[in-house]
């Protein structure tokens, strides 16, 4: 199976009130063996966040935790491989109660698991050119694979679009507004060259927080053995 994000499983939720935790359930049962990519945000440039779900338990330490000190907002992301199947509710918990908390959940199929990650803290004034907003490079160990990227503009909503050759996912973290302050995206890659989760930001002076997780396609790195054909024919 070709690796991909299961689009209907993208989900997001946000709340500007002060909460000690926030949970969101996948729209459908998750499939055993798939990988899960979760991002959370909270209204402070300090503190941490943890992640767990009802099917698998704790996700362990965040892959990256990035902060926008000017807008007082942070983003962290997590991965879980080889998920148990079934109904699944994911909970993000900031280290202290916070306002402006959000959660974004994704399910990835056709993967043998996580490979690497990258995160860019408060990329200030990146410019509005294509792909100027970036997680920074990571180098996958094998190919093919998939980059699942999330970027947030904590200053204002509706400024992000997917990077070149990326497919946009869910627009997230509206906090009651008409458009989201974050965007998810994904791209299948077929090279082990360094690459980044890139986005285009409409406002070149806004600060952006961008993270990405790389996942291996389930056939990645597998060498098909050469089996010589022996013939008894004589000429």
């Amino acid at each position: 199976m070709t690796i991909s994000v299961i689009a209907p499983q993208d989900g997001e939720k946000s709340n500007s009130a002060t909460v000690s935790s926030m949970a969101l359930t996948y729209n459908s049962n998750v499939t055993a063996g798939n990988s899960l990519h979760v991002a959370g945000t909270w209204g402070s440039a300090s503190g941490t966040m943890t992640c767990a779900d009802t099917a698998n338990g704790s996700y362990g330490a965040a892959l990256d935790s990035v902060a926008d000190t000017g807008d007082g907002q942070s983003v962290a992301h997590f991965k879980l491989d080889n998920t148990a199947g079934g109904a699944n509710t994911v909970t993000v918990t900031p280290s202290v109660s916070q306002p402006f908390v959000g959660i974004l959940i994704r399910e990835i199929q056709g993967t043998s698991g996580y490979d690497t990650h990258a995160g860019q803290t408060q990329q200030t004034n990146p410019g509005s050119g294509a792909d100027a907003v970036t997680s920074g490079n990571a180098t996958p160990s094998v190919q093919p694979g998939l980059i699942s990227g999330i970027s947030m503009d904590a200053a204002q909503p509706g400024q992000l679009s997917a990077g070149t050759n990326f497919t946009a996912g869910i627009s997230a973290w509206k906090f009651g507004g008409a458009t989201g302050q974050a965007l998810a995206e994904s791209r299948r890659y077929t090279s082990t060259a360094p690459a980044a989760a890139t986005f285009t930001g409409a406002v070149n002076s806004d600060p952006y927080m961008t993270v990405g997780a790389w996942f291996k396609e389930s056939s990645s790195g597998v060498v098909t053995p050469y089996i010589p054909i022996e013939s008894d024919a004589c000429f």
Partner: protein, 123 residues
């Protein structure tokens, strides 16, 4: 899609304990998500978990329910400048809109006595 009020829990004193679910009518097909407008007041407890707000969904008109989201309210609400406020907004987006016979319901577990109200609107 226009914002349409679907569930209203009027602002007022909320007794401690599990509250009966409040159910919406059938929601618009392919709605993009829903908003939750919250209200409290100066008597809102400053510390500790105050209220758990659950949202469940049904794809069969309310015959069966599936948990969708939970917010655990804890602490005074503030704006981005740190000023105490008494209104807040939650939002949920769908990547693909649900089909017909879709309903939502709100369940509250009140952990500390408080004055609180919430309106769920489809968008």
């Amino acid at each position: 899609m226009a914002k349409i009020s679907q569930i209203v829990i009027p602002f007022g004193a909320q007794a401690i304990g599990q509250q009966a679910p409040v159910v919406s009518g059938l929601l618009p097909v392919n709605l993009a998500g829903y908003l939750l407008d919250f209200t409290n007041d100066a008597s809102w407890p400053a510390t500790g978990d105050v209220l758990q707000l659950f949202v469940d969904w049904s794809g069969n008109g309310g015959n069966t329910w599936t948990p969708h989201g939970l917010d655990q309210f804890n602490g005074v609400w503030v704006d981005k400048q740190g000023n105490t406020i008494n209104t807040a907004v939650g939002a949920v987006g769908f990547r693909n809109g649900p089909s017909a016979l879709f309903k939502l319901r709100i369940r509250m577990n009140v952990l500390q006595a408080c004055n609180f109200g919430v309106t769920l609107s489809s968008v």
